[in-house]
Symmetry: C2
Subunit: 420 residues, 2 copies
């Protein structure tokens, strides 16, 4: 049994920069979950992990301990089931697009998704913008839908990984969030418990991401790939730019509309398209699909990906015609460039937060449509964004766009790939 | 008011290596003491302080907040009152000797002392080895005794510095003890609350000390001197070696006997004498005594220092003749050198712990008398130590002495002085 005295020695060792044994970390989590250890000891331990780091073996052990704290789904033996994860961004509708797209290519996708956090949007909130849609699928129903429809997007069951839930709340309360190892253990444990046989990770970097520095993002991506593989699952990660919103639309309903329109081919933002295709390709490759590029092109061109989105939403309770009926709020104002020049930076978190406030006050269909991309040449009065909602946020939104005199090279969208 | 959200931001700033404002630290402690903050947030904050450090201003602010958490004594206006502090060691009887010695030189001493901790002895336990002696003096009685007798040694009142008591217990539970800034705030706040106008600090370094490295010890000593001065008190510190027991005797009764015999001149260990004289001299200098060396020599030679110890103990309840009647346990065994060579190292904590166990099992008068000093040339069978007690600890105690072939230069006892 893990006593408070043993925990004190373990904290001291991590505080002094030692690497801890697998057995100790595997014993620590059940001791905490059974209240043999208190929050104060765990908080000090987590802060020591943040400041001293966790190596690959420690991260894998903690991940295993998290998985073991609750129920989990077995990997299906008949066919691969893919999952994808994004580390959180603004105007990131890739899950809404890629999940049905990959399913339309014949590969099952069972995605466990989250809620909006801080300035970032949540896939569950976007799905629920379609009247009738439920995301609280019981594990058995989730698996049955993946089997029947080919895909599902649901909230994590409360019965999975309870240790992560409790420890994440403690990390949040005591400012012990920013640790590559703790973040990786939290993310990977949930994916492992969800029963996916292969997982694609999209780690964001830039001013709108939780990992602002590309090196950190790459380190997290690489750690998650190695940790996932240690559980006998396939894995791939890419690092993508989040110095500006990924797609054009910010706000749950507006983003659901953007995903719908992307799949039916009426509007495809080039950056959003580049990332969706890269993610779908990676997922099909992990599933050993013989010809990913041709399958993706065909599913987008023949409408089967769009049809799969509608089937998935219907299976999760969408009212008939509800997806097609989604509309932006009719209250709209245009935010324009106050001077000529080049768009050199966008305050991505400011736009994410402004969109959330517009939705909170104005309801469904409110948010922001971004009309200018970094690197764009602007004249005074050109449209920077269209604001849907009741608040007078024009000046605040205009201030999120930095216009400078000189042109410069734009950043690549996909900054790194971890394939092995 | 200090909310949990404000605390989270403060933890994050310390986690990221920022220096915190005086106001924030002054608000933090009352918020914790009023239970507006929980132990988990405080534990994470303390761990961040351990790993990121506290600068001089932060340490002074925390010290002030600790003092403000309870009652404190005013500095007497009529005459200086000195205090001394040792950071804890083995066979360190300096307080029992220096307090009456300085009082016999005409300078008041009001010492607040502690209990045994880990392998180190506690001055209160040594005093209480004299039958009848009380150390739980109420503040008014403590001050009255200092006024009437010239000196007193007492436990810290429970009403002084309650924040330090609570935070020290939390630091101990969550392994957040080793921080120069937190240690300095804990020590200095108690001395300031005790009303001393001038304080002498003895910071130990070596294998028997809590600060093993001399650089750390010097840093702590220097920080305590500066912090003490920021409260308008005089201060001096020295760094002394604790790679071997300071005096010869380890164990409460044996150490009280050693102090008694030192003051009456029948037995004076040279290392103990060197440190006692240095501390007494520093205290007299801080009190602006015109001729410290002559006064000390006279008080030791004419018996007035020994008489002052007896008066102090009597004032604190000692039974008549009790000090003179103290005896080592009659159960004694000799531990001898297993081979010839030079005594090159002593496992000081091992001797401290062995002596505490001998006392626990054998009662008063048990412990260890160390008979060999580092650097000594030994023949096989020479006495290393005399063990008083019922346990068969000979092999364990013999193993604490390292004998090597080659001679070497001994370390100086006083390694550093911080006079300003």
């Amino acid at each position: 049994m893990f006593t408070k005295a043993a925990m004190r020695r373990l904290i001291a060792r991590k505080r002094d920069g030692e690497a801890l044994e697998r057995e100790a970390l595997l014993a620590l989590i059940p001791a905490y979950m059974s209240d043999a250890l208190d929050d104060a000891q765990m908080a000090a331990f987590l802060m020591a992990c943040v400041l001293r780091g966790l190596n690959e073996e420690e991260t894998a052990a903690l991940t295993q301990a998290f998985v073991a704290s609750g129920e989990s789904l077995e990997i299906a033996s008949d066919a691969p089931m893919l999952d994808k994860h994004s580390s959180g961004g603004v105007a990131d509708t890739t899950s809404l697009i890629v999940v049905p797209l990959v399913a339309a290519c014949g590969v099952r996708v069972g995605k466990l998704a989250g809620r909006a956090l801080g300035h970032t949007g949540g896939t569950l909130d976007k799905l629920e913008a379609v009247p009738g849609v439920r995301t609280d699928l019981e594990p058995a129903r989730f698996l049955a839908q993946v089997h029947d429809v080919g895909c599902a997007i649901a909230a994590q069951s409360e019965r999975f990984v309870p240790a992560d839930k409790r420890i994440y709340a403690l990390r949040d309360a005591v400012a012990a969030v920013p640790s590559i190892g703790l973040i990786a253990a939290s993310i990977v444990s949930k994916k492992i418990a969800g029963g996916a046989s292969a997982i694609v990770y999209d780690v964001k970097t830039g001013n709108g991401a939780f990992m602002r520095e590309p090196e950190q993002a790459r380190e997290l991506a690489s750690l998650m790939v190695r940790s996932t593989r240690s559980f006998g699952r396939k894995a791939y990660a890419l690092v993508s730019d989040m110095n500006e919103p990924l797609g054009a639309s910010i706000g749950a309903t507006l983003e659901m509309i953007e995903a719908r329109d992307f799949l039916r081919g009426t509007r495809r933002d080039p950056r959003l398209q580049e990332l969706c295709l890269a993610l779908a390709r990676a997922m099909l490759r992990l599933a050993e699909h013989p010809n990913p590029d041709a399958a993706i092109a065909s599913a987008l061109a023949n409408g089967s990906a769009h049809a799969r989105l509608e089937r998935m939403l219907a299976a999760q309770g969408a009212l008939p015609g509800a997806l097609e009926a989604l509309l932006p709020s009719p209250q709209r104002r245009v935010v324009t460039a106050p001077r000529a020049g080049f768009l050199s930076a966008i305050d991505t978190p400011a736009l994410g937060e402004a969109a959330r406030e517009l939705e909170e006050h104005g309801g469904p269909g409110c948010g922001i449509i971004v009309a200018a991309r970094i690197g764009a040449r602007l004249q005074t009065g050109d449209t920077l964004a269209i604001v849907h909602g009741t608040d007078a946020k024009n000046l605040e939104i205009q201030a999120a766009f930095t216009i400078t005199e000189h042109s410069f090279a734009a950043r690549p969208l996909i900054r790194d790939e971890i394939t092995r």
